[in-house]
Amino acid sequence: MAKASLKEKARVSGSASQQPEVVLDPAREPIVVVDGLHIVYRVYSGGGGKGTAASALLRIVRRQNRPQMTEVHAVKGVSFVAYRGDAIGVIGTNGSGKSTLLKAIAGLLPPARGAVYTQGQPSLLGVNAALMRDLSGSRNIILGCLAMGLTQEETRAKYESIVKFADLKKGFIDYPMSTYSSGMGARLRFAIAAARTHDVMLIDEALATGDAKFKKRSKDKIDELRRDAGAVFLVAHNLDVIEETCNRVIWLDDGRMKMDGDPKEVLRAYTEATGK
């Protein structure tokens, strides 16, 4: 049943038959309101086509899109309300739109239809994109902190604690990040990302990697960040982590919301459906 809907062509369809009705809770303070959200993004699939100046001019004059451009309809009409203190797990199979939903909540992907309303500025926990592999670890710490919006003074103040948390082998902080092992790189990236507190925190699972010792430390760090945040969203494939940390779970299937509710209930239904 889930397989059939995966095959469906990406297009804006009005039907949100799977979307459970949103029930408002007037007694609690909402932090994030997602209202009928659709996310569509364009992908350049590359290859083919002539890239000469003349053919480009012709395309612009005719107002044509590149022939190899495709649209991906990743989120299809999702609505829900997150309240203060919520820790919401987002689950679903690969390509179900979990990460896209997180980015949309963060305001990083503009909605095609619908809207996301938030209190404060939601932020994704992660800075990979701002870092440059060819440069030294210390330079990347500064760059990453500034990219997250810290001031120069704050960056200087956090520098030592980031180096300490990343716990790299001696001297490696001055080497280019391209020379790091994957574990070392992940530790440094996490250390930089966790240097800032957030109003609404969005965590993608890939963050907590590394050896067992570091996993424990990063889990403690996430818990600490969670206490300071208004609401937390956690995307994970590891259902145990979700059951442990979340008070509410949203199940996405092919861009639509399948279930929203108590972790035990949703996780049981999800496990049954995916046949795990």
Partner: protein
Amino acid sequence: MNGRSSESLAEFAARHGLTQSAARPSPRKYVRSLWQRRTFIWNFASAKTASTYTSSRLGQLWQVLTPLLNAAVYYLIFGVLIGTNRGIDNYTAFLITGVFVFTFTQRSLTAGAKSIGNNLSLIRALHFPRASLPFAHVLMELQQLLISMAVLLVIVLATGEPITVHWLLMVPVLLLQLLFNVGISLAIARAGAFVRDIQQLLPFITRSWLYFSGVFFLIPQMGQKFADKGYAWVGPILEANPGAVYIELMRTSLMKSFREDLAPYDVDYTRLWLYAVVWALIAFLGGFWYFYRAEERYGRG
């Protein structure tokens, strides 16, 4: 119970003072947040420059070598092989000044067009005023230009030009050109973000612009040539071309011989400066406004 019938989600959100996370901030707030990010912009520009050269053996020495090699090629072709002067006393310095100054505009434009498309992952991961990216890319080009200028000053001196007070004018010329370049990069950044084909088209446009901008010829002389044939309107257009304005002003400030070359043509310097200021302001304010208007839509591809 159906909560939706009594109140829509949008109303519910508004009642609790929630705001749209993908909304564009007010212009004033935008400028302020851009100013707050100035250290990031500067660091990003230097880091990008440093990382460009890490894989080459000579590293950042290339920033000096590239303009030197360029100058050598132009000197060889125009100074030695062709040996033209076309009424220009110091053709080598004339040509190399023109090429270096125009290259700054050309490279800013090219870098600006790619600044959004090449940083999509950054845009999709972090919050910051998107105008930081075109700004950073023009800054990278400015760093390169300042090195080129040092090379240029050596060349100008070596070709027998004296150091005069006029050299001080180099600073306002560069500042105005920087303003102009930031403006056109912001405009092309928005265009390039939504129509990637611009990147293919751009070399063609900048090349044509280069030929019109008096890098190789004396503009008043060319204007007179057209006026003699009955096309008097060509001269003023060539003169008002922003590409040419900054080159002409840089030459008059650095080269005493060029000021003498211009003497027979009755060039209005006040008007030239006016062009420089007006172009810089139009480009900067217009480009910034145009870029800002699409702020919330960058990142969609």
